[in-house]
């Protein structure tokens, strides 16, 4: 009996302390946000930090202004969220205006600097009309019988809704999905092709990469050709047949000697699917010219 009474007394005192100094507690909570960094980034940290970031600055703003007693539970929360977001935006604008980079630390510090005077004003407002802690607590909760119960309804609804949304999303995301459509690509992989490639007397190698992101293996024919001003294609290498497995990437290269004369040649490497009635093909191209003859031009 005595234990129960003591526990009740302690709980009541704690409740009084909480109600009488809620701006200070909220500021302390915001201050502890730095400790949330100790948690692993992702959902655990978000679960702790997000409610503080989204609620505390706005709640302190409402506490600092003589409007709090005119707003009830869920609406107080929504208004606090709207104000918190505004303060976060203004904090970013302030940082930008002061030429301070917007980072986790600077954002946190700026919001803390904003929250501290708001908490001080809110606490002073709360205490100004109350001489004792009990009185302050009484004033903080006066005229709000059943406020906790009413807030409880909203919290329960929010909890149920969030659980439903979370479960629905999880189930939907983990349901069997139609297989994604695969694809194949070919691309130059050596130095970037930005202009005509000058080729020295020892020739050069033009490396490329082929990626086959399909569920099945396929057979391809790889060819190389050059074209000049007429556009006619001239084969320039023995075709290579290759079989590429599912989700495989292969590297290849086209080794070429120094191109004849001082003219430019457009080289095209083509990958063609073998088998289907309408085979698909992929290609890349580049221009090459003999380095030594470049200054002589393509007169002949």
């Amino acid at each position: 009996m005595t234990t129960n009474s003591n526990a009740h007394h302690v709980a009541r005192r704690a409740g009084l302390l909480l109600a009488a100094a809620w701006p200070c507690w909220l500021l302390l909570l915001f201050g502890c946000l730095a400790a949330a960094d100790l948690l692993q980034a992702g959902y655990p940290r978000a679960l702790v930090a997000a409610p503080i970031v989204l609620f505390v600055p706005g709640a302190l703003t409402l506490g600092a202004l003589p409007v709090r007693h005119r707003i009830e539970g869920a609406f107080f929360g929504c208004l606090a969220v709207a104000l918190s977001l505004c303060l976060a935006v203004f904090a970013s604008l302030a940082l930008y205006a002061l030429h301070i980079l917007i980072t986790a630390n600077s954002t946190y510090t700026c919001l803390l600097v904003l929250c501290a005077p708001l908490a001080a004003v809110a606490q002073l407002r709360l205490l100004r009309r109350a001489r004792t802690l009990r009185d302050a607590a009484g004033r903080a909760s006066s005229g709000r019988p059943g406020a906790v119960r009413r807030a409880g309804y909203t919290l329960a609804a929010l909890g149920f809704g969030a659980a439903l949304l979370g479960t629905g999303t999880y189930v939907y995301q983990h349901a069997p999905r139609p297989a994604t459509v695969g694809y194949t690509w070919i691309a130059w992989s050596g130095p970037q092709v930005t202009a005509v490639i000058p080729v020295g007397s020892s020739g050069t190698a033009l490396p490329f990469q082929i990626s086959h992101q399909e569920a099945t293996a396929d057979v391809f024919r790889l060819t190389a050709a050059w074209a000049g001003a007429s556009g006619a294609q001239h084969s320039m290498a023995t075709p290579v047949m290759l079989r590429i497995g599912p989700d495989k990437t292969m590297n290849g290269k086209l080794a070429i000697p120094a191109p004849p004369g001082g003219c430019t040649y457009r080289i095209t490497v083509t990958l063609t699917q073998v088998g289907p009635a309408h085979p698909q093909s992929w290609s890349v191209n580049a221009d090459v010219r003999q380095r030594a003859q470049a200054q002589h031009g393509c007169g002949s």
């Binding site: 935006v89 980079l101 119960r149 809704g161 000049g228 290849g252």
Partner: protein, 667 residues
């Protein structure tokens, strides 16, 4: 609830203003269990609908399951909220629940990444802040958004302080904003003088507007701004209704804070907020509406707040976002002139739902929702007139605010005409999120009055009939309101659909974009079409060209083979602005885009030949033989070209010579 100053005074039943009664405890748990079952079943039906949608371009079954789910989710909540015996706290809780569960359609649409056009741009804007540490960084896709960094700064703050990814932080933020929006409507309705029952019904009615389920839940600045706008209006009306002195000053501070937040978040919402404040201030200045002790001082407060908001907006546009006027003005001007052309018979209007994938009954519901809203609005006007005559809505701030919101709501009806104008349709749709604030406040008391009328019917079947009729009207409004908004390709997931913003992202496009980023780094200037640009300009971290008549990059695509590419000034501009890459989606040669345009900017859909085929057919292969272009990548559908401008002289080999090499391939 936001407590109205005259909270203890009971008002006429016609306005639904009556003391809330304590809920009867009998059967409460049964009701809770039934509601929970309905919500769970609704969510399951929603998921089923999206699962069907994933496998087909469009299928009526997906719509049936979707609306079955939505009705299971919304109707029971609406039913309990609208009951006379439901307590104020329960109503608030249920409206909060409604806010959460109505976020499900957008969340399930694509839970793990952006899907809509603007979402990619806003993702990039947030990424820019997080990586550069600065606001106002250049953003491709929708360049104007960089001048309104509210959403991006708030998301970046959440990312910085929680460690969440951009998309997860955005999802959390949007969920909180969505819940705050619907509760804000209830708070606003109460601030205007409706009781908790009518206010909660107003919140539910607001949920029928075309933007509520999808458009205002996307990761875009409108979604944050609409919530800030509503709460700014709550603070404004509270400032008007609060007693003079410190409480009024406090609410004024909150109004300025929230208005400023709206201004830095979204241009159109800030303009709308200012217009609504002008409307409310004007209402408070009309003696027939407002004359009462101290009314001129109240009107002065309203005008002062309006002036401050207008000044903040003007200053922001002048100093920070000067491009806003040129960005917005074509929509207003062209929309109006097209509408006048339709009216005079000199132009043809839009054919509504012409390319829609949704079923006929959704189209019919979209037309019916205007009819239902009109009938209820007329009834609301009659009810208001009666209350003014019998002095249950006496002169004063409440009458002024109510009439001003009524005027706002009535703007919805003329705005529906703009849906016929190709340029005005988008603006009209977006305005409904605003006008429905007023409309819901006007209609809610009528709905409550109709419910009261139904409950007074002596015969059971008559009562059931009335309520079924109201439920049917609600279902039609929900279906029609949503159908009048975004197209089915936006609303439902599904297989790839060429030219649909929301269904253009494929693993192939993402792979190409990632390859491009790995190979060339970020911040390259790229010419490409609208749909490829969404990924390249966001996750690809490149800058995509915004075509216009002064920068007609689409000419590169439309030029016929054998002709020189583009006008000379274009090539000079491409070279001087360091546009080094051109990306071609080969499908543009064979398909017409679902949303009607191939490019960002002023693509007016002029790329179709008389036979309806795309002009690009047979014209994309020319890039392979263009002397100053090198194809550096090709996948099934995408080709990446490196442009080497200015083009040098033709020095290509003119005769057949022996030039051989050797191909080799390894792992």
């Amino acid at each position: 609830m936001v407590v109205a100053p005259n909270r203890s005074r009971s008002d006429s039943p016609g306005h639904g203003i009556r003391r809330d009664q304590r809920p009867r405890t009998r059967g409460v748990w049964l009701m809770v269990a039934g509601l929970a079952c309905c919500e769970i079943a609704g969510m399951a039906a929603l998921a089923k609908s999206y699962e069907i949608a994933l496998t087909t371009v469009s299928n009526e079954a997906e719509f049936v399951w979707f609306w079955l789910g939505m009705l299971l989710i919304e109707l029971p909540i609406a039913g309990i909220v609208a009951r006379r015996g439901t307590s104020r706290a329960t109503r608030t809780a249920l409206i909060a629940l409604l806010g959460i569960v109505t976020y499900a359609p957008k969340l399930l649409r694509d839970p793990s990444s952006p899907a809509y056009h603007d979402e990619f741009a806003h993702w990039r804007a947030t990424y820019n802040i997080l990586t550069s540490g600065k606001l106002f960084q250049q953003v491709p896709i929708v360049p104007i958004i960089s001048r309104f960094p509210g959403l991006h700064a708030a998301t970046a703050a959440l990312v910085n302080l929680t460690g969440l990814s951009i998309w997860h932080a955005a999802t959390l933020l949007l969920l909180v904003l969505h819940v705050s929006l619907i509760l804000g409507i209830a708070a606003l309705a109460q601030s205007v003088g409706l009781n908790s029952r009518a206010a909660a019904v107003a919140a539910i009615i607001y949920g029928f507007n075309s933007s509520f389920l999808y458009f205002d839940t996307q990761f875009a600045y409108e979604s944050m701004a609409i919530t800030l706008l509503v709460w700014a209006l709550v603070a404004f009306t509270q400032a008007i209704r609060a007693p003079r002195g410190r409480p009024r000053a406090a609410w004024c501070c909150l109004t300025v804070l929230l208005s400023a937040g709206t201004v830095v978040t979204h241009h159109l919402s800030a303009i709308n907020l200012t217009i609504i404040m002008v409307l409310l201030s004007a209402g408070l200045s009309v003696p027939w509406l407002a004359r009462r002790a101290g009314w001129s001082r109240t009107a002065g407060t309203a005008w002062l707040l309006t002036a401050v908001t207008a000044l903040v907006l003007a200053a922001w546009i002048h100093f920070v976002a000067p491009g806003t006027v040129s960005y917005l003005s074509p929509y207003f001007g062209t929309g109006l002139s097209q509408l006048l052309q339709v009216a005079s018979g000199s132009g043809s209007g839009r054919q509504l739902f012409s390319q829609s994938l949704s079923p006929w009954w959704e189209h019919q519901a979209a037309f019916l929702v205007t009819v239902i809203a009109f009938i209820l609005a007329v009834a609301g006007l009659v009810l208001t007139r009666r209350q003014i005559r019998n002095n249950t809505l006496p002169r004063g701030r409440r009458r002024s605010l109510f009439v001003a919101f009524t005027a706002l709501g009535l703007v919805y009806f003329p705005s529906t005409l703009f849906i016929l104008s190709p340029s005005g349709a988008e603006g009209a749709r977006r305005s409904w999120a605003i006008t429905w604030i007023g409309l819901s406040i006007l209609i809610a008391p009528v709905t409550v009055w109709l419910l009261e009328l139904a409950s007074r019917k002596a015969r059971l079947w008559s009562r059931i009939g009335w309520r079924a009729g109201l439920a049917a009207a609600m279902a039609i409004s929900l279906i029609g309101g949503t159908a009048a908004g975004l197209d089915a390709s936006y609303r439902f997931p599904g297989p790839y659909l060429y030219g649909s913003d929301a269904r253009s992202n494929t693993p192939e496009l993402e792979a190409m974009s990632q390859w491009f980023l790995d190979r060339f780094g970020s911040r390259n200037n790229v010419v490409t079409d609208r749909y490829t640009g969404l990924i390249i300009g966001s996750f690809g971290l490149q800058y995509t060209a915004n075509p216009s008549s002064g920068f007609p990059v689409y000419d590169l695509y439309t030029d016929e083979p054998g002709e020189p590419l583009g006008p000379p000034f274009l090539l000079a501009e491409l070279a001087s602005a360091k546009y080094l890459y051109l990306i071609v989606d080969e499908r543009m040669a064979d398909h017409s885009p679902a949303v009607g345009v191939y490019f960002e900017g002023d693509d007016n859909g002029q790329f179709a030949l008389p036979d309806g085929k795309p002009i690009f057919q047979g014209r994309l292969g020319k890039f392979n033989t263009t002397l100053w272009m090198y194809k550096v990548f090709q996948s099934d559908n995408y080709s990446v070209y490196r442009m080497n401008l200015p083009a040098g002289p033709d020095t290509y080999q003119r005769t057949a010579v022996s030039f051989t090499g050797k191909l080799s391939v390894g792992q």
